[in-house]
Amino acid sequence: MSDRRSFPAALAVPALLGLAGMAATAFHFGAARFFANWIVWFLFLLTIGLGCLFIVALEHTVRSHWSVPIRRIPERMSGLAVWVAPLALVALFSLPVLYPWTQPEAAHDAMVAGKLGWLNIPFFSARTAVSLVLWGFCYALLCLGSMKQDASKDPAFTVKARKWAPLVLVIFGFTLTNAAFDWISSLEPLWYSDIFGVYVFAGTFLAGIAGTALGVAYLVKRGRLPGVTFDHVYNLGGFLFAFIVFWSYIAFAQYMLQWYANMPEEVFWYQKRIEGFWLVFVWVMAALHFVIPFLFLVSRRVKGSIRLLAPMAGLILAAHFLDLFWMVFPVLGEGVLPSWPEISFALFFVPAGLLWARRAMERGEDMPVGDPLLEKALAFKL
């Protein structure tokens, strides 16, 4: 086990290297390349946070009690949905660089001009700000409230959480869909697909579960989750299994429907993303997002053992990153392929993210000790 002090130090070196690389990217390749990477990492961290927020709200809504012992982990990680605010602010500067509807030519294209009432910088920024505020509100309501319950042990919070969690779900549904359409879909404003919100949701939920699983592994390894058994982890593994299937189903549905009708105003989006290098990329992503996890997670043993589940969760999280990357990066143009700029961003954001996660894992108790159902939940058997 690494020394707690040397852990940040070990990460500082790649992080600084990464930072330098990011700056170099901006100077060497230009703002577009810089911002494309920025957007991907911003969305990646945001979706992990939102996925965890969704998990918390869902658990309160359906009154699941097997999940109470591990609920603190997604509660902590939902903080990402708020902490990405500075990233969002920088991302707003990408609008004139990456998004075609900000350009004057957009007004001449009838198909884009019609959308300019919605797609314009002030309104877009306002929507982003409102979403962040709403996410902060939901985080405070469900997650901070739960942490407060640790000390007060007041069941009134659980009653309140159960009452308001459905509203959080509704807010989540619309804000995530809006974020997906705004940040990703509007990169190519001529394209449309109404399942897109569901598609990004599938990846987001998976990111949340995977993040939770990794958090559970982190704490279990340090003996900080006593009482969490095979039965609890099995359910987590079951969700991971079910939702990689769900994601694949949605991804396939969107692709197959647009392939089948073959309408030029839709397929150009896919054509760009399955040519040459990107074809290989897609097959790798399909393997990491579906095939490999499926083959492992089909086993009951893997589902219930956090030691075996954690690598799968990591794989799925990486695949989710690749998914976002695949959606955003090709807008840079045909010949533009990933290389050292992308690595430098990873060198910065991965340590930064891990550092943030480590600090978040110290917030509140490791289990929601104030939750009246905790004792019963620890006794859960499949």
């Binding site: 396939f252 692709y255 197959m256 392939w259 089948y260 073959n262 089909v298 009951r300 058997k381």
Partner: protein
């Protein structure tokens, strides 16, 4: 009933009582232990030392087989055996093949799970298991929990087993004897079952075949074959001549066969006017038609001299004579359409446009034999 007992069983009032009893009886090592319960009891498998079910692996393997077979079949029918271009899609449209592949996977996997469990794992249906003929079975299916000590290789110490079971809390101890059927079901029974199923399938198949062949020709299914409407060459009682086909009404004009109207031969020259201009295409068409239909009598130069002249004993018009040269286009058109003397009416062979084109060609022929000086290059 046969003599040698196969098991001794006792009833317990609850699942807890059964679970408490199992280790007590097991340590006495009197035979194989088996439990009978009205519903699955958690932890009983482990307590009895049962191995986990292999169904999971079987289902996975059969599912994978189903996927492969489905994809292969779809590829073979769509891209190899009889490829048909549909919707501009590739012959091997894997995207379109996924749904059927998925469904067949589930089908194979599900039937392996269900039928595999019943026939292979549990060896059902079998109505001869000894426990089915005990007094305890009523309680077992209702609310009783039975623990049985089974004979190993036919050997069973009934007294010791009874004592062990009673000591562990069991009541209504019963000695179980084999039934008329063999234990476990012998291979002949399984073969018989398979044959019965196969025979059933064969009967069903043959019935279906004849139903499919026979059924469509019965009315009202065959109504489309014999329709009420009349088709050409059918008879019909509605008309005197008994035919369904009717000649066209008197005065019907076929397309492109518009009659000339009441034009006399003398007036034709002034009434009928050539609507076509003498372009290269018109002259080419006129030449082509002339050489097909007119050249036999009028000759290649239009002078009425042709090989048939001797045999036919007719004198086709010489276009270079003064009379014909003086004819207007309409007069020539009239002659082609209505015929003249021995010449038949060519209205049936040439459309009006073609006739006018031929007229232009005749003019060209005339000019060819009597060209003015300006025509020379």
């Amino acid at each position: 009933m046969s003599d040698k007992p196969v098991a001794v069983l006792a009833l317990f009032p609850s699942a807890q009582a059964l679970m408490d009893a199992v280790p007590k009886v097991r340590e006495k090592n009197l035979g194989t232990l088996q439990a009978y319960t009205p519903y699955p009891v958690h932890g009983l498998d482990k307590a009895l030392g049962l191995k986990p079910s292999p169904l999971g692996i079987m289902v996975f393997a059969m599912g994978a087989l189903g996927a492969t077979l489905a994809l292969l079949f779809e590829w073979w029918t769509s891209a190899s055996d009889y490829p048909v271009r549909i919707g501009g899609k590739a012959f091997f449209s894997w995207q379109a093949f996924v749904p059927v592949m998925f469904e067949v996977t589930v089908l194979f996997a599900a039937f392996t799970a269900g039928l595999g469990m019943i026939t292979l794992m549990n060896r059902l249906p079998w109505f001869g298991h000894p426990v089915l003929h005990t007094n305890a079975i009523k309680a077992i299916t209702r609310d009783g929990f039975a623990l049985a000590v089974e004979a190993v290789k036919g050997e069973l110490d009934v007294e010791a087993a009874t004592a062990a079971l009673e000591e562990a809390g069991g009541a209504e101890v019963e000695v179980v004897f084999p039934c008329t059927e063999k234990i476990p079901p012998g291979p002949t029974l399984q073969v018989f079952k398979i044959l019965a199923v196969a025979a059933g399938c064969a009967v069903a198949g043959i019935t279906m075949y004849f139903a499919i062949k026979l059924f469509p020709v019965l009315p009202p299914m065959a109504d489309m074959e014999e329709q009420v409407k009349a088709i050409p060459y059918e008879s019909s009682a509605c008309f005197e001549d008994g035919m369904a086909m009717r000649p066209p009404v008197d005065g019907t004009v076929a397309r492109g066969m518009l009659p000339m109207g009441p034009v006399t031969e003398e007036a034709s020259g002034s009434v009928l006017v050539n609507p076509l201009a003498a372009t290269t295409e018109v002259l080419a068409e006129g030449r082509e038609r002339y050489e097909a239909l007119c050249i036999a009598c009028h000759g290649p130069l239009g002078n009425g001299k042709m090989s048939l002249s001797k045999e036919y004993k007719a004198t086709p018009a010489n276009f270079h004579g003064a009379t014909v040269k003086a004819y207007a286009d309409g007069r020539l058109y009239y002659a082609i359409s209505k015929g003249k003397n021995a010449m038949a009416a060519y209205a049936v062979d040439l459309t009006p446009e073609e006739r006018w084109a031929v007229v232009h060609y005749i003019r060209a022929l005339q000019r060819s034999q009597d060209a003015p000086e300006e025509d020379l290059p």
